[in-house]
Symmetry: C2
Subunit: 417 residues, 2 copies
């Protein structure tokens, strides 16, 4: 912020309040709150809906309409383990939700312990590291289990690794950390090689500590790809792969909630999880897995397909970033993401809640202030997440106009109070 | 059994052993162990694979390719609540596995308690009623959670209700019962109206007791339908609907492991479960739900469709029952099922394990002896489950020949020992 001239602020407030009243007259009804793919993005995968039919339901003599294959269709294991550069034995293909796999893994740890260890339920207070800002649905899971969440500040290279290393080395009650290592939710940060290597070498005091590595946006760059080191493979170099759980899905490759998800880990972890899973289900829907195998065929096709997503996402992010640059240069900071689904904006302290409230009054819904923090408590009331993927492009300009206007009003109100 | 003449038994043993040696020469490789639908049955639903395509993915302006609808597609809720004769507000449509819903419900009770009650994990020893013989995957879930399983004998009308009522009224640690109320697994028994009414009126000491009512075969009769009272609606008459959890799926209507599943309960239970579910997933695959809605359209079509299944199942059960009648009349007892997937055979005490072993030597796999009991312990080593659905009809005669031959050998060995 470069100015705190009261008179100047009063002028801005007057102008922006008048502007907001004009927006209200437009009776806007826009939603920028969730990272949902747009119709145009979903259309890119429509071929998936035609490729499995009453002729093509079998593959290599296996009938995908019947029971079996707890860990997934071998051809799907091959495709997605190849995409993730791990061995086929290190992946389990699951249903439509990687969030569900994360929840189930944590619930299993709560109930049965990790790989035969003592159940978390019997270990008293359990704690979890939460890089902030982060993904609200991650935090909701740990909150539900009564796990104490510890905020870890994000840097441009990923979580503050000094803090992570120090905490896990000294406190046996810390059992895990939520990570979105590539195009992090919401900041779009890609963990640096050094950060990944430090995770790979991590020496937690708790032997049942696991890194929950939610690589939701691994192929979701807007233009040139940004490399992320493979955590499982790095950890193997240090004979430390037990601490790695990796997750992914096609929710933002094919269909959101209509695709497939997967869990990746070393042999010890896969065996232990699969053994418990075998009591929970006979297996996931293999027809959906088959469709992905037949439609995408190989990793290069997935990467080409993601370029089409990028072409749809790029102009949307351009509008958001240009709008921020033009209007909020003096009022906020943000990081320009190179991929993913979000733009994270840090407004002036104490103005995020008010900004969301004002925008809502003008018919534009943003993710609630605080949502990006454990317990929905942003200590600075400053961070907001903008999700530009879902609305058609023509709605983004009015939505961002309202956002910037609201942020400026909140800023002026705060500094004039 | 009508004869125990040693000489007669020795004659039979000689004949049947020679016969088994002949079977071994055939190098059979047949599997009668699991209740999997046959290819011909799965073919009945192939239209499902063509009905959702790149044109038809939306319904009533809702795009089934995107996130949303935790409790399922409204049109799917309508269809299956209508089939189950409950209100649309009383059903949640889920993924491909009703077993998974049962597991998750029990895990939630273990971790969080039932509807805000004390978690089972914190209540010390937990017990569960298990009508026997029963479904091995049910018992595997309660065993995994360390829940003590109590055998309840089955009668021709369902579980021994005197015993059920007495136990639940006196022991607060009993929290549930596994039931397959129609064409029970494995006996094919349909619970009588009186049995269902007694369940509906059940007054367990534990307020967090639930009946796990797995109505897996609700529309799976071989000819004329056999009526089962609707437990939820009956329980409402006695203001007692909180104790009812009902489950079902299309695994044996459309595709096994490729269909949809559902959970049915009253408003209290649905709200509590949905609230916890909302942390676990954003929702199930709605494209599969949509396919079922578009393909089946209404309950009458589902019932007509099930008649086609019946036509495929009837001749298979006929072979099994004729074979038993012809060969094992003096050696075993069984119930003739009017629907479902299994024939349950009670052999002479102490001969079930040996029968399975001998059949396996001749290349025919049956469900392991004991599988139909908690802890895989049949106290009489007598009950075996025959699953005739999967093998092509031409394999059933040799498989049953081997079964009967093996049972007779085991009988003679036992009584000559």
């Amino acid at each position: 912020m470069t100015f705190f001239d009261r008179q100047k602020l009063q002028e801005i407030l007057l102008i922006e309040r008048a502007r907001l009243e004009e927006f209200k007259k437009l009776k806007l009804n826009l939603d920028m709150s969730r990272g949902k793919p747009s119709k145009a993005q979903l259309d890119l995968s429509n071929g998936l809906l035609d490729i499995v039919n009453s002729i093509t339901y079998s593959i290599d003599n296996f009938d995908c309409r019947n029971y079996g294959l707890l860990d997934g269709l071998p051809q799907a294991k091959k495709l997605f383990s190849s995409l993730c550069e791990v061995d086929e034995s290190e992946i389990i293909i699951s249903g439509n939700s990687s969030l569900n796999i994360m929840y189930d893994n944590l619930q299993r740890a709560m109930q049965f312990g990790v790989n035969g260890g003592i159940s978390f339920n019997k270990q008293g207070k359990i704690k979890w590291l939460c890089p902030v800002p982060g993904y609200d649905r991650h935090f909701a899971i740990t909150e539900l289990f009564g796990i104490e969440m510890i905020n870890i500040p994000m840097t441009k290279d990923g979580p503050d690794m000094d803090m992570v290393e120090q905490l896990v080395a000294s406190d046996e009650s810390i059992k895990g950390i939520w990570c979105v290592p590539k195009f992090s939710n919401p900041q779009g940060i890609v963990y640096s090689d050094q950060t990944v290597t430090r995770f790979a070498k991590l020496q937690p005091k708790a032997k049942d500590f696991r890194i929950y590595w939610d690589n939701a946006y691994m192929v979701h760059s807007f233009s040139q790809d940004v490399e992320l080191l493979n955590l499982l493979n790095e950890a193997k170099k240090f004979n430390n792969s037990d601490i790695v759980y990796m997750f992914g899905s096609t929710s933002k490759i094919s269909f959101a909630g209509g695709g497939i998800s997967y869990f990746i880990a070393n042999k010890n972890n896969i065996e232990s999880i699969a053994n418990l899973m075998s009591k929970q289900t006979i297996g996931s829907n293999k027809l959906t897995q088959l469709a992905h195998v037949l439609y995408f065929k190989n990793t290069q096709n997935i990467k080409n397909h993601m370029q089409k997503h990028a072409e749809l996402m790029r102009p949307k992010f351009k509008i958001v970033l240009e709008s921020l640059q033009k209007e909020l240069y003096d009022f906020a900071t943000w990081i320009e993401p190179k991929g993913g689904y979000f733009v994270s904006v840090d407004l002036a302290e104490g103005t995020a809640k008010r900004t969301v409230e004002l925008a809502r009054e003008a018919g534009v819904v943003f993710t609630g202030a605080g949502a990006t923090f454990p317990y929905r408590k942003d200590p600075n009331d400053s961070n907001l997440r903008i999700a530009p993927s879902f609305p058609p492009i023509e709605e983004l300009n009015p939505a961002m106009d309202v956002f910037c206007c609201a942020a400026k009003i909140a800023f002026c109100e705060k500094h004039l109070a």
